[in-house]
């Protein structure tokens, strides 16, 4: 498990993260959502070990992140940044092969190329392996970089947990590719990889995530199963938009869709958000922090009713 516990982070006097707890569990696809500037990328960098946490601990597989040798750490977790430009004229396949740098056989083995080509095919880029990276479109570049990350944590021993930390991998992708990418990530998670994905499309998060954490102004506002975390009142409070929950015939999940108009700020939502301000560090499993159950537990207050209004019959996630 890759876990941040009560993490604070700041840069130049500006607080980026306050008292954040998240757990990236192998086998689970976790989506991190939140408004611009909420601290999503900072949290990802803290989990990657790139940004040192001012307070709190980050542990990977039970060992503090800073105690991991750099190269071994890189074998167990890959990070995809928002956009990556490459110096010098490299082909897409060259870029993917860079993912093997933490491993012994880097560039010395033709089976590495087979692995790279296979991952390129998985992200739907098999025809472009020989193309210059600089001539690819933004979305194609992102998929090549995703393939590089998959190659980086590829070929692990059995039972060895690995992690993928992805900062908006779907930002430049078309609708079809967005869904294909998240399907791929969920499938990959099932092979024992903990996946954290930052996304802006809440419907995408609701449709594919096993677990959703909502970050706002450096705090985790709510974390839990998609139907618990992505409720209209929470979204209205955090993003300031009105949301309708859409039920699709092909999925048992309720998908939030933004609609024009001010968010419904019911009395309930206000008290709810006040409660959230008091207990901002909600994380799963709830046993870790007893107060964390506040969101998931059926409160007598309005929020629960708000959810049941639009989602009267929540069916279990059958996507597994």
């Amino acid at each position: 498990m890759l876990a941040a516990h009560r993490v604070h982070a700041d840069a130049g006097g500006r607080v980026l993260l306050r008292d954040v707890c998240v757990q990236i569990v192998p086998g689970r696809l976790t989506c991190l959502v939140g408004p611009n500037g909420a601290g999503k990328s900072s949290l990802l960098r803290v989990l990657a070990g790139d940004l040192p946490a001012g307070a709190g601990t980050v542990e990977m597989n039970g060992t503090s992140l800073s105690a991991w040798p750099l190269r071994l750490r890189a074998r167990s977790r890959a990070v995809l940044s928002q956009s990556v430009e490459v110096a010098f004229g490299m082909r897409a396949l060259d870029v993917v092969l860079l993912g093997r740098i933490p491993h012994q056989a880097y560039a010395g083995d033709s089976s590495e190329q087979v692995l790279a080509l296979r991952e390129l095919a998985r992200v739907g880029m098999s025809g472009m392996a020989q193309r210059r990276y600089s001539t690819l479109s933004g979305g194609e570049k992102q998929r090549v970089q995703l393939a590089r990350c998959l190659v980086q944590i590829g070929r692990r021993a059995r039972n060895e947990a690995a992690y993928l930390l992805l900062d908006e991998p779907t930002a430049a992708l078309d609708l079809r590719q967005q869904h294909a990418t998240l399907r791929l990530l969920r499938r990959r998670a099932r092979t024992g990889i903990g996946v954290l994905v930052i996304v802006h499309d809440l419907a995408l998060a609701a449709a594919f995530a096993d677990h959703v954490a909502v970050l706002d102004r450096g705090r985790i506002v709510v974390a839990g199963a998609p139907h618990e975390a992505l409720r209209p009142d929470v979204i209205g409070e955090v993003f300031g938009v009105r949301v309708r929950m859409l039920r699709s015939r092909t999925s048992p999940r309720m998908l939030p869709v933004a609609v024009p108009g001010a968010p419904r700020r019911t009395e309930a939502a206000r008290t709810h958000s006040a409660a959230l301000q008091v207990e901002p560090t909600v994380s799963l499993p709830a046993t870790r922090q007893p107060s964390g159950t506040a969101v998931a537990a059926p409160e007598p207050a309005e929020p629960a009713r708000l959810v049941s209004e639009v989602a009267p019959r929540l069916e279990p996630d059958v996507s597994r």
Partner: protein, 366 residues
């Protein structure tokens, strides 16, 4: 290079606009043949022509094989004491410039980076001008002679790079953009100091300063070679193991960090290794431009962007370029000698412009 025989950069099949790089073995053979050919030509050609057969006989004779003392004594003297140290020094300095250029371009993530960017040549120039102008006070008897500017150039180059590096440190992190700007500032400052000092120099001193800034291998001696080769070895041994880190840094510094590379240590080592090598080169021969810029570029054209090949090949290409330029410098206007720095620029600049053609740009540029 690559023992397994399948380099990452040589890719299966041929598709799209991308140009297929040559195979590793092919490039190695090509470079070694070129290197040997240019070296032999350099030894043979000059004011006194020496046939390859004579070269072989003299070298064998001095090594104790065959009849010792055979052949013309004058020919022997020319080959062993004038021409050979010069060719070896040209190869050494060229190789040093090549590998240092490759390392610095990798660190700056820019195929147009050059050691001059970080103030090596400007700093060496200031020091050399100081000792040239003030030489009469420092070394009135001229006992230190030729080595004084060399030592000054070496020290000046290293001092300037460490100054530029220090300016670019932000809480122990080397900030590359700051380093570029600091390099520009220090270059300007050094240029101003040089200009002021030149103003106070005598005509003869101005002449020697001018020739120093255009580079020359005429000071070559076995003594100089004996210093230059170990420095090249140290520099290459510092840079070569960093090929993996430099490959990762093609993705950017934070991505390299995510790939398990200690980016700060890499940058420090590159700076140390490259400044040591370039300082030696400047001290030995004066300012020689373009070799450090063009050698890695040519190598990337041949083999793709992997740094193991780029750095190893730049050693070879740098040696070839400088030996060929010096051959031209000695023979084109014989008995006069052209400044070799001008020749490398004369050959290198058009080559660079040719490499910048639009269709090439599509292939090479980020």
């Amino acid at each position: 290079m690559n023992g397994a025989g399948v380099p990452a950069w040589r890719l299966v099949g041929r598709a799209g606009a991308a140009r297929e790089p040559m195979s590793d073995a092919g490039v190695r053979t090509l470079l070694l043949v070129c290197c040997a050919g240019v070296a032999l030509l350099s030894l043979a050609a000059g004011a006194v022509a020496i046939t390859p057969a004579d070269i072989a006989r003299i070298v064998a004779g001095s090594a104790g094989i065959g009849e010792a003392g055979s052949g013309d004594a004058a020919l022997r003297a020319v080959l062993l004491h004038i021409r050979m140290p010069r060719v070896v020094l040209a190869a050494t300095v060229g190789a040093t410039l090549g590998i240092c250029g490759a390392g610095l371009q990798g660190m700056f993530r820019n195929p147009l980076a050059d050691p001059a960017l970080i103030g090596v040549s400007a700093g060496a120039a200031v020091a050399v001008v100081i000792v040239t102008v003030a030489g009469n006070w420092i070394d009135p008897g001229g006992r230190l002679g030729l080595t004084l500017p060399s030592i000054a150039g070496f020290v000046g180059a290293l001092a300037t790079v460490s100054l530029v590096h220090r300016i670019s440190l932000r809480s122990d992190r080397t900030v590359i953009t700051t380093m570029l700007l600091a390099g520009i500032g220090v270059n300007a400052l050094a240029g101003a100091i040089t200009a002021l000092l030149v103003h106070f120099a005598t005509d003869a001193q101005v002449r020697s300063i001018l020739f120093w800034t255009m580079g020359s291998l005429s000071g070559a001696s076995w003594k100089l070679v004996a210093v230059a080769i170990p420095v090249l070895a140290v520099s290459a041994l510092m840079l070569m193991p960093l090929h993996r880190a430099l490959d990762a840094m093609m993705l950017g510094e934070s991505e390299a960090g995510y790939l398990g590379i200690d980016v700060e240590a890499t940058k420090r080592r590159i700076l140390r290794g490259a400044s040591l090598g370039v300082a030696m080169a400047v001290a030995a021969t004066g300012v020689i431009g373009f070799v450090a810029l063009v050698a890695p570029r040519l190598m990337r054209l041949l083999c793709g962007p992997g740094h193991r090949q780029t750095m190893a090949g730049s050693l070879c290409i740098g040696a070839i370029l400088l030996m060929a330029s010096d051959l031209g410098a000695r023979t084109l206007a014989a008995p006069a000698e052209l400044p070799v720095g001008a020749l490398t620029a004369l050959a290198g600049a058009p080559l660079l412009l040719w490499l910048l053609r639009p269709q090439r740009e599509a292939e090479l540029e980020p």
